[in-house]
């Protein structure tokens, strides 16, 4: 039987000290996932404390939700059990910044912006998000969040070198290493990427860093139609350029942030290039030429502050916080099917009360779309369910997927947020092997794990 909140609070106070365990209303409200609140919030100070706590949680069959900096807690259905919010806010030490080897080891609660702050003076960066990102390193890992510059710099799975992780049964383990190449043992780090904390609490991470480019520009180009923008994007991808992003954005919602004007129905292409001055100049010139030959309406090039702002807007928007009036969906497709995916998303369904706003990474094949919901719509749940099912069915033969990233609680609790995943049997075997009591994030992940 689960202990009473007071008993639990006492136990956690004994483990972490009174200053690091709370059960009062304002504290627990700050850790709500949808309308669910934890009985107790606890903030261990060391990886060993995390481990000791997990052992207790497993024994007592507690429902635990690890909490980094809370920027993406709306992902997935709310937890089936929520006794303790395990805050990693004290695990923020930088353990080793080896600038000569371009690696960084830090505790998982550290915010990405602190990494930028540390590494920018040495002209290095961790190409996962943007300089002002509040997200914690562990949170980025658990949600498999890569940056918009992935095309050139690689994503989470390419940049992670090693982890330390506490398992529900009270073990504290280390995998990978601090060197950039390593095949000693199974690549256990991969198991935790995108696992939403389903079988362990990552307490420490090691990443490979990249050098800040000498120069950087963003080419923004307006096209009369999506089809023309898409054709230009394809041409850019198949030219001898090395862009770090090739993205398209909708006219809806983006017009204000762009240096070019967009009419409804038009689309803009964003090409981000970086490298040496000469190579950037050359790429911008070639990119412009390609766009001109695809009947661009207007083009502008951003650099410096303006570029940073635009970059940050894209990242912030992709990983935004939930809004009860919106349904946010992420669709993955092969790059050549991005246009088809956008077509599917743009057919504004009946439950939509305005145009769909989207950002499509045409290099990676990933589309984020936001549909403004009509709260008055009849039978909203059934409508969205049917729509999502239809999208998934049509993406299926393109080997794509659709994931609900954010939605009002009434939807998120009833929709199949993740869709089906192959190897479901294996996933279940895993979960039961590594978290037999289902202590971590119960009910939040793929297949209801």
């Amino acid at each position: 039987m689960t202990p009473s909140p007071t008993a639990l609070h006492n136990r956690l106070t004994a483990l972490f000290g009174a200053e690091n365990a709370w059960m009062d209303e304002p504290a627990t409200a700050g850790y709500a996932v949808a309308s669910r609140r934890p009985a107790v919030v606890a903030a261990p100070c060391t990886a060993e404390q995390v481990t000791a706590f997990l052992e207790l949680a497993s024994r007592e069959k507690l429902g635990v939700v690890p909490w980094g900096r809370g920027t993406q807690m709306h992902l997935g259905p709310p937890p089936a059990e929520y006794d303790v919010a395990l805050s990693l806010k004290h695990l923020t030490r930088v353990l080793e910044y080896d600038s000569a080897n371009l690696t960084l080891t830090a505790e998982a609660g550290l915010a990405l912006r602190e990494v930028y702050r540390l590494t920018i003076p040495g002209r290095q960066f961790l190409p996962l998000g943007y300089p002002g990102s509040e997200a914690s390193l562990g949170g980025l890992l658990a949600t498999n969040t890569s940056g918009v510059k992935r095309l050139r710099y690689g994503g989470m799975r390419d940049l992670l070198l090693g982890i330390r992780v506490a398992l529900p049964e009270g073990e504290l383990l280390r995998y990978g290493g601090r060197v950039v190449k390593n095949v000693a043992g199974y690549d256990m780090c991969k198991l935790y990427i995108g696992s939403l904390g389903a079988f362990g609490v990552v307490t420490e991470v090691t990443f490979r860093l990249a050098m800040l480019p000498e120069d950087e520009r963003l080419l923004a180009v307006a096209f009369p139609t999506l089809a023309q923008g898409m054709a230009a994007a394809t041409a850019v991808r198949s030219a001898a350029l090395l862009p770090s992003t090739v993205a398209l954005v909708s006219s809806a919602g983006w017009a204000d942030s762009l240096p070019v004007s967009l009419q409804p129905g038009q689309a803009a292409l964003l090409v981000h290039v970086d490298g040496s001055h000469e190579s950037v100049q050359r790429q911008i010139a070639e990119g412009e030429a390609i766009c001109t030959s695809h009947e661009a309406v207007e083009a502008a090039t951003l650099s410096g502050e303006a570029l940073l702002t635009m970059w940050e807007r894209q990242e912030v928007w992709r990983t935004s916080s939930p809004d009860p009036a919106l349904l946010q969906v992420r669709v993955g497709v092969p790059p050549s099917s991005v246009e088809t995916a956008l077509g599917l998303l743009d057919e504004a369904p009946g439950f939509c009360r305005g145009p769909v706003r989207w950002l499509a990474d045409a290099g990676i094949g990933s589309v984020t779309a936001r549909l403004p919901l009509d709260a008055q719509a009849d039978d909203l749940v059934a409508q969205v369910q049917a729509w999502l099912g239809g999208i998934r069915a049509r993406l299926d033969d393109r080997q794509g997927f659709a994931v609900v990233e954010s939605a009002p609680e009434i939807l998120i609790t009833q929709l199949d947020v993740w869709g089906t995943s192959s190897g479901a049997g294996l996933l279940k075997r895993y979960k039961s092997r590594f978290d037999p009591q289902g202590a971590l994030n119960r009910g939040r992940y793929v297949g209801g794990l």
Binding site: V179, K181, V183, L191, S421
Partner: protein, 492 residues
């Protein structure tokens, strides 16, 4: 193995024959790691996924161990049938199933030779980036199992960074698909976990890989140094100046001699070391990067920098690098290749330690390796007919790995743990770490029939590989080397 099992096996792959005669099995008793040998009972050549499923189900039903084999070029005993049983030779499943230039990917069967993929997409302006030096013979399936690297993986990443999806026959015969045609499919990254599992999680029957557009421009430099220390310092200098070339390879004098004898490229035989450095990408700005690299080399007492003048010269230099192991083979009846990794700024120390180990055991060690990644390849030269020398080779190997771990590195960068180094895993991982890896393996491979007893020693079972004959690091040797290091510093 029971006759009835052999008959069933024969029926599955008919009309392809089985190999069962001792002389036919000789080739299969080891891979590129020749110090350990164990013959299988039978070798079978499936031609499609259905046959692989049937073979695996048969083996699972009868409790017969089995192991997949590609080209058998592995260097850690991965394809060795340690406990006998069936070798499932995948080389007949070598088709390219799909090439999709628009999405920059290809779907291939596992028996496809690595280089054949690059050749097949070359006319389209593409290539497959992971390029092990053995790429003319090793298979994509073997690469997936080992998470293989190569000279150009410094900039572009190793096999795992280029695999999008896998079709796998699990050890119970179930067919599953991991990942897919695109990145970040929801669910755990089982593709990532599978890559590098060294044939112990199941048999790959199809692989979806990324193919990359050939760079617009390439520039290849050779820099010669009087000593390996100077060359190592230049490597550190280049990396910490923030330049990540496409490739950054080192050869020491012994290797230069061997390679020059093989390819006659005009390499100076008196150079203590050379760096083979390649830049690729956008033409504009490349000259400036080349100049910066050249300056860093000069600051580190470089004797001379040579720039490849045309494609033919570039190809010749790479031929020298890729065939260096073979060239070393002309100097010695046998050599033992190690693969430890160290933080790349510690190369000078690592190479000093290698020299000490060479002196200590009276063995010649040639170095030809991926310097930019800090991935060493010391080749220890020996003659297998001299059993006393073999003993010294094993001890030297042990010390080499220990040195890598001491310097903050790991046991292997690309050749895998296999049979050879599994008993050294406890130097890097705690018993709890290893136990969780075992549990993961049990999720895939509960009967332990699929390539049994590799990578991590089974609980309570220990059939030892070449490098270590017991689990404990040899502290005495370790301390002696540390003391010698101290000495070297004092005298330097």
């Amino acid at each position: 193995m029971e006759q009835s099992v052999l008959q069933e096996l024969a029926a599955i792959v008919a009309p392809q024959p089985l190999l069962t005669q001792p002389e036919e099995l000789l080739v299969y008793e080891c891979d590129g790691h020749t110090l350990d040998k164990a013959p299988p009972d039978v070798v079978v050549f499936p031609t499609n996924t259905e046959q692989v499923i049937a073979i695996v189900k048969l083996a699972s039903r009868h409790g017969v161990p089995f192991v997949a084999r590609g080209a058998g070029t592995g260097l850690s005993g991965g394809a060795l049938a340690l406990e006998g049983g069936i070798v499932i030779e995948m080389c007949r499943m070598n088709k390219i199933l799909e090439i999709d230039y628009g999405n920059q990917r290809a779907v291939v069967q596992p028996g496809l030779v690595n280089l054949h993929l690059s050749l097949a997409v070359a006319d389209g302006g593409f290539y497959y980036a992971p390029d092990p030096s053995s790429q003319g013979s090793c298979t994509i399936g073997g690469n997936v199992a080992e998470n293989s690297g190569g000279p150009h993986t410094l900039k572009y990443g190793v096999t795992t960074n280029h695999v999008l999806g896998l079709e796998v026959v699990l050890p119970n015969g179930d067919l599953v698909h991991f990942g897919g045609a695109i990145l970040d499919t929801p669910g755990y990254d089982l593709t990532g976990l599978f890559v590098g599992s060294e044939g112990t999680f199941g048999i790959v029957t199809s692989v979806t890989v990324r193919i990359m557009r050939k760079p617009q421009a390439v520039k290849t430099l050779l820099a010669f140094f009087e000593t390996v220390e100077a060359a190592s310092n230049a490597v550190s200098g280049i990396i910490s100046a923030g330049i990540i070339p496409a490739a950054l390879e080192m050869m020491d004098n012994l290797t230069i001699q061997a390679v020059e004898a093989a390819i006659q490229a005009g390499l100076p035989l008196d150079a203590g070391a050379l760096l083979l450095i390649e830049l690729d990408g956008i033409e504009d700005g490349m000259e400036a990067d080349a100049q910066r690299i050249s300056d860093i080399c000069q600051q580190n007492d470089c004797q001379n920098v040579r720039v490849a003048q045309d494609d033919a010269e570039r190809a010749l230099l790479w031929k020298g690098r890729k065939e260096a192991f073979g060239a070393i083979g002309r100097l010695t009846p046998n050599y033992y290749t190690h693969d430890g990794v160290i933080p790349r700024t510690r190369l000078p120390e690592a190479l000093t330690r290698l020299q000490l180990i060479s002196h200590r055991y009276g063995l010649r060690i040639a170095n030809v390796f991926h310097a930019g990644d800090g991935n060493l390849h010391p080749l220890v030269l020996y003659d297998e007919r001299d059993s006393e020398e073999v003993e010294r080779v094993l001890k030297a190997g042990h010390d080499i790995l220990q040195a890598c771990v001491d310097l903050g590195g790991v046991l292997s960068g690309e050749h895998g743990i296999g049979l050879e180094k599994k008993n050294c895993m406890s130097w890097l991982f705690s018993e709890a770490d290893l136990d969780v890896m075992r549990r993961v393996r049990e999720v895939f491979n509960p009967q332990e029939l699929c390539n049994p007893n590799k990578v991590i020693p089974l609980r309570g079972r220990c059939r030892c590989g070449a490098v270590t004959h017991d689990d404990t690091p040899d502290h005495e040797t370790h301390e002696a080397v540390a003391a010698a290091m101290q000495d070297a510093h004092v005298h330097a």
